[in-house]
């Protein structure tokens, strides 16, 4: 089926997310206005106006009442989802790279970049406590000190017990809410661009510039599967419906101008979760895919690319019928 093209951003997409029900898609881009769309028909519901720089990350809570955005203008903003009004703006020293709501939606976390002499840090706030938001004094703050490389992606663990971080050098680490380091591992050899959890939080998939995506067990960090490509992987998502994963990536944006789209390999690539075998590709973007996500019902998926488009794909019947022989 022809994909729905969401054309509302002027610059490259940095992150897209479905809400829990999957009726809305949130998109952040390097322009300063995150958007929210109806996933069914691609109509734009609205924008969040207020940032003054590239928005690197976006998330919404489980009942779709609040939205969290982090940007290069050194702020992390909390929005009311329904009205699009800003509830709070948290000032940081450097750009906000990644953020997220906890399972209950009561806690938020975000991480900042290591630039201009400031270290990379994890912040955790309790948004029920108004004073924390007003004063900007977090519930806990974790500086990431060398030799640990900076955080490039982070998510909440199950039942908001801990935070899982992916780092520049390919490390994975786990911190509790007080900021204590619990454990870590290093299976990737390149920056971890994205981490996405399986619907029941038992597994997660990482996407790395080392041309692979890996599936890990949440509890033990044991690497379960590996999906290989020939290009940096920017994002990966696990289907909630089938044993499938989808990978998005492509040649680094800085090198794209010198190569044709064919050589960049900007396809979304589908792999079998268990067999690690590729079974399908979807073309379309004319730049690398920066973020990719399955709809929570697993019947469609969306990808956001360096080309500034979000493409919403509903699967054909033959995808749903397709099975591996074994």
């Amino acid at each position: 089926m022809k994909p729905i093209m969401l054309h509302g951003h002027e610059r490259s997409i940095t992150q897209i997310k479905y809400n829990r029900e999957g009726d809305l898609i949130f998109s952040a881009a390097k322009d300063s206005q995150p958007n929210v769309w109806y996933s069914l028909n691609g109509e734009r519901l609205g924008t969040f106006v207020g940032h003054n720089g590239a928005v690197w990350c976006i998330d919404c809570n489980w009942d779709t009442t609040k939205v969290l955005t982090g940007a290069a203008d050194n702020t992390c903003k909390l929005w009311d989802c329904e009205t699009g009004t800003q509830i709070s703006s948290l000032k940081t020293n450097t750009a906000v790279r990644t953020n997220g709501f906890s399972y209950s939606g009561n806690l938020i976390m975000y991480t900042t970049d290591k630039t201009m002499g400031f270290p990379c840090e994890i912040y955790i706030f309790d948004i029920r406590d108004g004073s924390q938001l007003q004063t900007g004094n977090p519930m806990s703050k974790v500086p990431i000190e060398s030799p640990m490389p900076k955080i490039t992606s982070a998510i909440w663990g199950p039942n908001e017990e801990y935070i899982l971080t992916g780092h520049d050098g390919g490390d994975l680490n786990q911190f509790d809410l007080k900021g204590n380091w619990i454990k870590g591992c290093k299976d990737h050899s390149g920056q971890i661009n994205d981490i996405q959890v399986y619907k029941d939080f038992s597994m997660f998939i990482t996407a790395s510039t080392d041309h692979t995506a890996r599936l890990f067990d949440m509890e033990t960090f044991e690497p379960l599967k590996m999906f290989k490509t020939e290009r940096p992987v920017n994002s990966a998502s696990i289907s909630p419906l089938h044993e499938h994963v989808v990978l998005g990536g492509g040649q680094e944006a800085s090198l794209v101008t010198t190569t044709s789209t064919r050589i960049g390999k900007f396809d979304a690539r589908f792999y079998h979760l268990v067999f690690e075998e590729e079974f399908g590709r979807v073309k379309g973007h004319f730049g690398p895919i920066n973020s990719i996500a399955f709809h929570p019902d697993g019947l469609s998926y969306s990808s956001g690319g360096e080309d500034g488009y979000v493409r919403v794909h509903y699967f054909d019947q033959n995808y749903l019928d397709f099975t591996f022989e074994y």
Binding site: N159, M203, I263, V274
Partner: protein, 930 residues
């Protein structure tokens, strides 16, 4: 510091001496602190640590000695004429540098002793002086003998007795051709990847299997020898050769900064080139090595700027040639023409292969070992060395000894029976054998007997002989080469389905005498006996096939090892380029136009230097010679011009270039020549390696065509076969067996590949390997590899494997992949009749292969299914465990989300409120007629 301490110590001792004298005074004075070391003190600081900078400046005897030369044979003169002599000497030697010191030893009467010493300011000057003035003729009676003073001792101390060099211990490297032993005839290929960090050897099974992988095996790239026996790796210090079952290092060749190498086609010699390290009197730029012994055979300078390989080998490695100013220099290797060479130095026969079957030995080694007093050594192509016989055997027993020796191995019977070796002296030689440990005569004899009993051909069948020989452990020691080769042949026989081909060779060498036995099933059995006395080599040769042909030759040969053939180059004024025929000793060269004479292409037979054919050509800008692989045809691509403008001495501008192909039919009388004209620019040319077609690419982009011509086997008519128009191709790759060709548009043409069957000119597949930089056929013509090398393109590196029809077999992306090379195969042992027979029974073969293929496919897919099932089971188990855990934590989740169950996407239907949204789909206006 050490010196300082010595001083203080000596002062101390002096003080203590005085202390004894003035004992009373001392006592009244204050007690002095003691500076001497405690008794158990051990000085562990060496002078080297303390004064290394000063010690460095310590004069060495060689510093000055190297600048001193001895001039002998100067006139003996009295006091009165000494000054004059000094002046003469000074005049001669001062031009090489400042003479620091001159010493004329005089006897009691003041007469010079006929020699003198000269010291120069530097060793370089002394060196130059020795080189230039040694042999200087002052007058009739005085010819200078000039030597380095430092050499003096060396020359004086030469022992009277020559001690033989120690024979190298034989090292079993295994069967160097064991890679040919796999039943399915899979080929191997080498792959360099990871920016050159890693080198791996793969076997081309349906899913390529890794045979060997090593990190930093080579510093630049690797090369296979022409028959695939060796893998050469490049290092800063030289070349290393690897081979055998485990890719063990077989030999290394030290050549600092080596950049390029070339093997002789027979794999006996290696040519290496390094731009460093060349000196005027010791050529080091190009070195020719003997592969089996690792000995440097000859060095050459590299003045010419011609392209590599500078030395071109003829088809069997007997000759190698290079182009020089107005000449082609042809050199010969000791194997040339089945001749026997002697080394005058030790007066021993240095051998030698005859009749092109046996691959012997670093001949030099043999000679030395033989000369060494009777330890004979055989070294075979398989690198097997073997000691048989011992000193004195020959002197005492002469030929008979040899006969006996051979008889001991059980081979001689045939010769004995023919009455050649009548003087058989038993006993002693047997003992000698015993001493050498080759006692298991019966083992060796077993081979011979089997050979004799079953007839040569039969004995080879199914590798039975090999097994036998291999089984008799000791036999290996006696008849090594035979065993090794037979094993190999047996392997080959297997792989070509009992082709009953065996080549075995047996080689014996003894002091002053050599015996060589060469036997192959397809060829007559040859026995060759060579014995030498000083400079004469008597060369005897028996050929025994079914009947007896005896051919005896006796000749005198003189030494010429790696020297110029016939001691002079082939003088050809202004010669531009030459090539060897790939199958015959024919050399083709071309000469451009000179004033009045037209350009010409000449074919010369070597070594007779007889001109076989001369072709004059007019208006020639350039020529390119292309030999067909089977040596039947030569094509000379001639670039011709309509107008020429001489701009300066070296700059000539041609205009209106058009092209001719001059086609020489070598196999026919007088070598007739045909001509094909082409107006468009020719981009590539290639002969069908086996067959009679050739193809070339012509035209200007984007209108590029590929044209095929065919030469009729009878009558030699050349006719246009087919032109394929509008192709994206810049390279032609014929299958090594002909018929199939890949037209490739590499690099700038994006990697377009087209597989063509030239039998009926069908295009089997048109495809693309994006940005491919290389295409390589496997040695059997079954598979083709297209590759994107990191050297040519930085992304998407890897190689794709196709079959000859262009059906993709395997795609292998590989990080920073650099180079893929197929391991070449030695020439097939099947003769033409066998090949014909196989062709005839092709259907039965095909049936069998298809069956094998389908069973393999079935097992492969079954394996895959099994693997998947296993993975799935493991995963299911993991999931069920996780799901249980998930269910257990339900209460925690409910608490966190205010009691709302969000575990399933649609299980809170009551939470939804239905809303009806109306979309305006279309507005239509219709005029309703009234």
């Amino acid at each position: 510091m050490a010196a300082g301490r010595h001083d203080s110590e000596s002062r101390k001792s002096r003080e203590s001496e005085s202390h004894i004298d003035d004992e009373d005074i001392e006592e009244e004075e204050e007690e002095q602190p003691s500076f001497s070391d405690p008794e158990d003190f051990f000085d562990d600081v060496t002078d080297e640590d303390l004064l290394h900078d000063i010690l460095k400046k310590k004069p060495k005897p060689s510093d000055s000695v190297d600048s001193v030369i001895i001039v002998d044979c100067i006139p003996k003169v009295g006091k009165d004429r000494l000054e004059k002599l000094k002046n003469v000497i000074k005049k001669i030697f001062s031009k090489f540098g400042a003479v620091v010191n001159a010493f004329y030893p005089l006897d009691e009467e003041g007469t010079t002793k006929g020699y003198m010493f000269l010291e120069f300011s530097s060793p370089q000057n002394a060196h130059e002086a020795v080189k230039m003035t040694n042999g200087y003729k002052l007058d009739k009676t005085h010819i200078f003998k000039v030597n380095h003073f430092s050499d003096f001792e060396k020359y004086v101390n030469i022992p009277e007795e020559w001690t033989p060099p120690e024979p190298k211990e034989y090292e079993d490297l295994g069967n160097l051709r064991n890679w040919l032993m796999n039943k399915e005839c899979y080929d191997q290929f080498s792959v360099i990847y990871g920016e050159g960090e890693k080198t791996a050897i793969f076997l081309n099974t349906p899913e390529p299997t890794k045979v060997e992988e090593r990190a930093r095996w080579t510093e630049t790239y690797v090369r296979w020898s022409p028959q695939g026996t060796y893998l050469a790796t490049f290092h800063q210090k030289g070349i290393a050769l690897w081979g055998g079952p485990g890719f063990t290092r077989i030999m290394k060749f030290g050549h600092q900064g080596v950049q390029l190498i070339d093997f002789s086609p027979c794999e006996r010699y290696l040519v290496t080139f390094s731009p460093l390290q060349d000196s005027h009197d010791d050529p080091q730029a190009i070195i020719i090595w003997d592969i089996l012994s690792g000995v440097k055979k000859r060095g050459f300078h590299c003045e010419s700027r011609s392209t590599w390989p500078i030395f071109k080998w003829n088809h069997n490695g007997d000759f190698f040639a290079r182009i020089g100013e107005d000449a082609i220099s042809i050199y010969e290797t000791p194997t040339a023409g089945g001749m026997v060479k002697t080394i005058e130095a030790d007066g021993v026969a240095k051998t030698v292969r005859a009749c092109g079957v046996v691959k012997t030995v670093g001949a030099g080694d043999v000679a030395k070992t033989v000369g060494a007093g009777g330890v004979a050594k055989t070294v075979g192509a398989c690198g097997v060395a073997k000691t048989i016989g011992a000193g004195g055997v020959v002197e005492t027993n002469g030929i008979g000894g040899v006969m006996e020796t051979i008889r001991a191995c059980g081979v001689i019977e045939s010769i004995g029976a023919r009455g050649v070796g009548k003087k058989i002296v038993a006993g002693s030689v047997f003992d000698v054998f015993g001493v050498c440990g080759a006692v298991d005569i019966s083992g060796a004899g077993g081979i011979a007997k089997a050979t004799k009993a079953n007839g040569l051909t039969k004995s080879a069948e199914g590798g039975r002989l090999a097994k036998k020989a291999g089984a008799g452990g000791e036999a290996e020691k006696a008849g090594v080469d035979c065993v090794a080769k037979t094993t190999w042949a047996g392997g080959m026989a297997k792989s070509v389905e009992h082709s009953a081909t065996v080549s075995g060779s047996f080689l014996l060498a003894m002091s002053h005498v050599r015996f060589e036995l060469i036997c192959t099933s397809q060829r007559p059995v040859c026995f060759k006996l060579i014995f030498t006395s000083q400079r004469h080599v008597h060369h005897l040769w028996w050929e025994i096939s079914l009947g007896i042909n005896v051919w005896v030759a006796s000749k005198d040969f003189t030494s010429s090892s790696f020297g110029l053939k016939d001691k002079k180059s082939l003088k050809i004024t202004a010669v531009r380029d030459f090539t060897w025929s790939p199958t015959d000793n024919i050399l083709a060269y071309w000469v451009p136009e000179q004033s009045n004479t037209p350009a010409r292409v000449t074919l010369v037979e070597i070594p007779s230097r007889k001109e076989l054919c001369v072709r004059n050509l007019f208006n020639v800008a350039d020529c390119r010679m292309h030999w067909q692989k089977s040596g039947d045809h030569l094509c000379v691509k001639v670039d011709r011009y309509k107008a020429k403008k001489v701009e300066s001495k070296d700059q000539v501008k041609y205009s209106g270039i058009y092209y001719n192909f001059e086609l020489f039919r070598i196999r026919e009388k007088q070598i007739p020549v045909d001509k094909v004209e082409e107006k468009e620019q020719v981009l590539a040319f290639a002969w069908e390696p086996v067959g009679n077609k050739f193809a070339y690419i012509h035209g200007e982009a984007p209108r590029i065509s590929v044209t095929f011509y065919k030469i009729h086997p009878n009558g030699g008519k050349v006719e246009l076969f087919k032109t394929l128009e509008k192709k994206a191709a810049n390279h032609l790759f014929w299958s090594p067996n002909g018929q199939f060709i890949v037209l490739a548009g590499l690099r700038s043409m994006n990697g377009v590949l087209e597989f063509v069957d030239t039998q009926d000119m069908t295009i089997m597949n048109q495809t693309e390997h994006f940005m491919a930089t290389d295409v390589e056929w496997d040695p059997t013509g079954r598979y083709v590899v297209s590759a994107v090398s990191w050297w040519g393109h930085k992304v998407d590196n890897g190689y794709w494997l196709w079959n000859f029809q262009g059906v993709p077999q395997h795609r292998q992306p590989l990080e920073k992949f650099c180079q893929l090379q197929w391991r070449p195969r030695p020439p097939s042992l099947l003769d033409e009749s066998k090949v014909k027979e196989i062709r005839k029974n092709f259907k039965t073969w095909a049936q069998r292969f298809e069956m094998e293929d389908s069973t393999r496919k079935q097992t492969a897919s079954k394996d895959l299914m099994d693997k998947r099932r296993m993975l799935m089971e493991a995963f299911r188990e993991y999931r069920s465990r996780k799901e249980r855990e998930f269910a257990e934590q339900k209460q925690i989740r409910l608490d966190l989300r205010l009691g709302v169950d969000t575990d399933e996407l649609h299980n809170q239907e009551d939470n939804f409120t239905e809303e009806t949204i109306e979309f305006l789909v279309k507005v239509e206006e219709k005029i309703v007629e009234e």
